[in-house]
Amino acid sequence: MPSNRYSLFSLLRETLRGHTGWQPAWRDATPQAAYDVVIVGGGGHGLATAYYLARRYGIKRVAVVEKGWIGNGNIGRNTTIIRSNYLLPGNVPFYECAMKLWEGLEQDINYNAMVSQRGVLNLFHNDAQRNAYIRRGNAMRLNGVDAELLDAQAVRRKLPFLNFDNARFPIQGGLLQRRGGTVRHDAVAWGYARAADRLGVDIIQNCEVTGIRTQNGRAVGVETTRGYIGAGRVALACAGNSSRVAAMAGLRLPIESHVLQAFVSEGLKPFIDCVATFGAGHFYISQSDKGGLVFGGDIDGYNSYAQRGNMPVIEDVCEGGMALMPRIGRVRLLRHWGGLMDMTMDGSPIIDRTPVDSLYLNAGWCYGGFKATPASGLCFAHLIARDEPHPTATAYRLDRFARGAVIDEKGMGAQPNLH
């Protein structure tokens, strides 16, 4: 049975009833014989796609097939940062589309995702970096995205405890996007799952896709651990497992799976009111509403499906943290974990058709796909429903590598030394 609408009234009513009347947020669906669209992967992107397919494109016979449980993948493992401070033409409008959707998300899906526009501050430490950030900020403003350049004085007022006079990496200032911030990652998965379920989408958990059935070059369904499911269209949104699942249809992708780690400290009183990134190493930090410092850095840098990393990166991240804010030196680490990144060779995502008819691919989000979740879902839904790319996601083609049209936003990717 679909769950009730959440409101102040329902909260009061349940408070008086001792919280005995809440319904499960989504049904535990069992697979039907066939659907119009089967989405493989119940992460943020798969669930958002299902929601927009049902909500905006009127396709209701949709299933999301997830091998584990909703939220076990990267959607529940990321460091929750959202921003649209991109530089390249293919990227800026897309990530700004995501930011606008974040701004209206909670009303749209009737779920508190704790969207917090607390600001994202990228620090710079030398003149060249300052110039690069000025250019980025200008590109953002040309595209109607907010960006502000702060000098060292202004950064000092915001975060007085940073190590401004680090001998090698003095802080000269930062590029601030005030509309950036954080969103409660699990709530995004749960909120989209609930909203999609209310529109009739089947969310099928503990159901691993083991094969993609094709007929005359056309995808017609998926083999799963819970039996065969027929599909008018098959849509892949498997994040770190994209290569494995695409290989079931004979595709070879420009992707390597890598592990990225994240860290949370013991709870502290609030002292960092934005997201801050260190420009001279890879370290970024924010503080959760529970008080834990949430931080991270580089990928470990080797192919991995293990969802856990190694010590050198832990040391590297902590060294970055100490260089930026020495006061966290005595804070204890509470927990850390890893997630699977599908690193494309240019560091940018893929939302596209594939050489197999009726098979669509959403992949390659590297370590920046959380912020994209709403726009990724919307654009993928558009592609599946209309069989043509959404206007804000026309650059994310699968054949761009062969065409030499790579989107090299930061010179990252799995092996940036290859190009």
Binding site: R252, P254, S304, F401
Partner: protein, 95 residues
Amino acid sequence: MRLNCPCCGPRGLEEFTYRGDATVRRPESPTAPAQDWVDYVYLRDNPAGPHRELWYHGAGCRSWLVVTRDTRTHAISDVVRAVDVARADKEGAGS
């Protein structure tokens, strides 16, 4: 993770640099079809399981190594010098 370098013995990961899949081969001729270059530069099998991959022992003997490692567990089953692999390849191709 520690790599057992044939020259230096078991050493910590921080001494090494990763260079990806060791099975891809650069096309022999610069005029090879574009698709061969796309395959070489961009496309990867990216297996979940044993993976043959290149590591460089930069803070040690400076050898290039071909490591066989299970990407699901990080367990390492084999480490050989890349130069030996290249020699064996050449002999195989010559015979």
